[in-house]
């Protein structure tokens, strides 16, 4: 583990400090260039920004905490937790400070955005299998670390997986995490239901959703990883068109989503012969309707012609076991044959596999002449109340 410190204090003299940088809580140090996305409803906004003193592009996230009441604690907890985790595949907070009523968080820029962005913008029918192998390996490393530190992540999904310019995947979304270490003890299971996670329900494990006495533990994240594997492969998140009750019923009964390819969705080919695979009987992709309706009548549809390796199918099945006891742990899964594919097939690095998507790097942004950039949004001033008291 490297000892590089990304706090505001000066780096220790012997640290490697490639990207070591001091981010000060000063409005004038940052130029906001464009909005990259939103989070937490409309409370949080993520911007592509430019740190003027160091001339580096960064991600600047702002929470307008004057818009919220009680959730402020969630934001505080997320930042504090993130500051106490340090792993190359876990999102990092380089600095956090308050500017007016905005809690501002500075993080390294993730040049490829989230995997959800990649799926939405270019890979609508899913990412290439080798790209998924790279990405999920990184995320498993993140989960292994988080689990060993005694947390359950509870929100593994494509939108919480970010990819940087080097093609390293990073796990974010830590505000949903919960501790397994409580009252000075390592709990075998926890029962708390994440209150703010309505949007994450489709990815959550059956045992978490059931909310029964057995509770759940870090194995719940492995199920979510399986759902995410399907999401990355299929382009669409499983259960997307399901009402929550149906989604819950299916998960509890043990119907698991699958990777869509010629072995799992022969009905799209509509030829009705050979591939009537045994798995099909119970396999429910959860996206049948939506895919069927826009995959216009199917001949040549890549979903029915492509074929994922057995390694990948097996990996997803392992993650999606109904009984958490049967799911391997993150560290066990890291040895899975699915992750040996890139080397065996001599695959190029991830950025090339994501071609033609271009990462937001300094060069692409043309930041050599950053002065030309217009400031799109300075931290706005608000008007004052005019009423005067008489003391």
């Amino acid at each position: 583990m490297s000892s590089t410190s990304h706090s505001q204090s000066p780096p220790p003299p012997n640290s490697q400090n490639e990207e070591e940088c001091i981010y000060e809580p000063d409005t004038n140090s940052y130029l906001i260039m464009s909005m990259l996305g939103q989070c937490c409803g409309d409370v949080g906004k993520v911007y592509l920004a430019f740190h003027v003193p160091s001339k580096t592009p960064i991600a600047l996230k702002q929470f307008n905490v004057d818009k919220i009441k009680d959730e402020m604690e969630n934001i505080q907890n997320e930042i504090i937790l993130t500051r106490q985790l340090r792993h190359p595949n876990v999102v990092m907070v380089s600095a956090s400070f308050v500017l007016q009523s905005y809690v501002t968080v500075i993080s390294p820029l993730m040049a490829f955005g989230s995997c959800r962005d990649l799926l939405n913008r270019h890979f609508t029918e899913g990412l290439p299998e080798l790209a998924i192998s790279y990405i999920l390996k990184d995320i498993l490393q993140a989960l292994d670390y988080i689990h060993r530190k005694g947390y359950v992540h509870r929100a593994v999904r494509a939108s919480h997986i970010l990819v940087n310019a080097n093609g390293e995947a990073v796990l974010s979304g830590l505000r949903y995490a919960c501790r397994l270490v409580k009252n000075g003890r390592w709990q075998r299971s926890v029962h708390s239901f994440p209150t703010t996670s309505a949007r994450n329900l489709n990815w959550l494990s059956p045992e978490l959703l059931e909310q029964n006495l057995q509770g759940y533990n870090e194995k719940s994240d492995m199920y979510s990883l399986g759902v995410t594997a399907c999401e990355l492969a299929n382009g669409v998140a499983p259960f997307q068109d399901h009402p929550p009750t149906l989604m819950l019923t299916e998960k509890v009964r043990g119907y698991a989503p699958v990777l869509l390819d010629c072995t799992t969705c022969p009905q799209f080919a509509d030829t009705g012969q050979q591939n009537s695979n045994q798995t099909q009987a119970q396999a429910d992709s959860g996206v049948g309707d939506s895919v069927g309706s826009n995959g216009n009548s199917l001949e040549g549809n890549s979903l029915t012609t492509r074929r994922f390796t057995d390694h990948f199918h097996r990996f997803a099945e392992l993650c999606l076991q109904r009984d958490p006891e049967n799911r391997p742990s993150a560290s066990q899964l890291l040895g899975h044959s699915f992750f040996k594919l890139p080397r065996r097939m001599n695959a190029p690095p991830l950025p090339q596999l994501l071609h033609p998507v271009i990462p937001l790097t300094k060069e692409v942004l043309g930041l050599q002449n950053y002065e030309e950039f217009q400031v799109m949004d300075r931290f706005g001033e608000m008007d004052l109340n005019s009423c005067e008291w008489d003391f």
């Binding site: 809580p25 004057d66 907070v93 003890r185 390592w186 008489d390």
Partner: protein, 336 residues
């Protein structure tokens, strides 16, 4: 003797090895790298004894008792905390986990670690000063809040000179550290009601002159959080004496009236909950009454228009209606 794996170190051996390694780290001689490694290794051993791992249960009570006894005798807890900044990133968290586990140890109704720390208050002072250092602030925070659960330890912290540094810590520019310090600060001022009330009464002037600074802070989050906490403190019946004193001071009323019309709606709302106490006071001192009378019409109009969109918040609307009625009915004191 275990059949597989290395034979296990006894608690005494782990404590001894860890103490030697931390001392070496403190001396900072050329073996520092080796020392760092030994610190991490032994901390992990100790943590696993207390918490167990994914495939091993925690150690038996006897082993834990031995470990605790060795920790007290060797003074290792203080040594670890004093050298926390020298321990690597993950090791710092292991120290906090070991500390928090040992702290919770109970024998019947006794808490031996709490008793031990009472005799070594330096542990608490060192932890409090941990907020001065970015790299260890959050680790110290988790340990401090665990300590604050025990009245005896909270008392030592409240009555120490270091306590007043919290007014500075909660306002530092790094948001995560300021937030963490604030939750420790709040815990100390609210957890043990009688202790807190007595502390606030005895130190009223000092506490509230410091508190004034927080309410006027440039930092939005500090201002909002401290205002909210002020409301909670004043409305807690244990703090009746403190509340009476607070609402007799016209400067406090002026501050709240100004905060009522701050641009931030959340701050306006929190200020309302302090302002209402001034108005509801049946025995308003003359200066308070005079300010309210001088602004009688303005206040009625202001409050009528104040947060009218909170129609679903019944309690708020009842309170607002009550305040408007009270202010309308205000009469000057008869001249004697």
């Amino acid at each position: 003797m275990p059949l597989f794996g290395k034979s296990q170190k006894s608690p005494a051996e782990v404590v001894k090895a860890l103490k030697e390694a931390v001392s070496a780290l403190e001396r900072g001689d050329k073996k520092a790298e080796k020392a760092q490694e030994d610190v991490s290794k032994n901390l992990l051993l100790m943590k696993n004894m207390l918490y167990g791992t994914s495939d091993a249960e925690p150690q038996t009570d006897i082993m834990v008792a031995q470990l605790a006894q060795e920790l007290y005798n060797s003074n290792l807890l203080l040594l670890l905390i004093q050298n926390l900044n020298r321990i690597d990133f993950e090791g710092k968290k292991d120290v906090a986990q070991v500390f928090n586990n040992i702290l919770r140890r109970q024998i019947g109704t006794r808490s031996p670690t709490v008793e031990y720390i009472c005799t070594k208050p330096e542990i608490l002072f060192t932890l409090m000063r941990g907020y001065e250092q970015q790299e260890i602030a959050l680790n110290c925070g988790t340990m401090l809040r665990e300590c604050a659960r025990y009245e005896a330890l909270a008392k030592i912290m409240l009555y120490s000179d270091d306590f007043f540094n919290f007014f500075r810590y909660v306002e530092v520019s790094t948001f995560d550290i300021a937030s963490d310090a604030f939750s420790t600060f709040k815990e100390l001022l609210t957890r043990h009601k009688l202790l807190c009330a007595e502390f606030l009464e005895l130190n009223y002037d000092k506490v509230f002159s410091h508190y004034q600074r927080l309410l006027n802070s440039e930092n939005y989050v500090t201002r909002r959080q401290s205002l909210k906490l002020l409301g909670e403190l004043l409305l807690d019946r244990h703090n009746f004496t403190v509340m009476t004193r607070y609402i007799s001071n016209p400067d406090n009323l002026k501050l709240m009236m100004n905060m009522l019309k701050e641009k931030s709606r959340n701050i306006q709302f929190e200020a309302f909950h302090v302002f209402k106490v001034f108005v509801a006071n049946p025995n308003k001192p003359k200066p308070i009454l005079e300010i309210l009378l001088r602004n009688q019409d303005k206040l009625v109009e202001f409050l009528t228009r104040f947060h009218t969109d909170r129609s679903e918040d019944e309690q708020f609307n009842d309170e607002k209606a009550y305040l408007i009625k009270q202010i309308k009915e205000l009469k000057p004191l008869p001249d004697h």
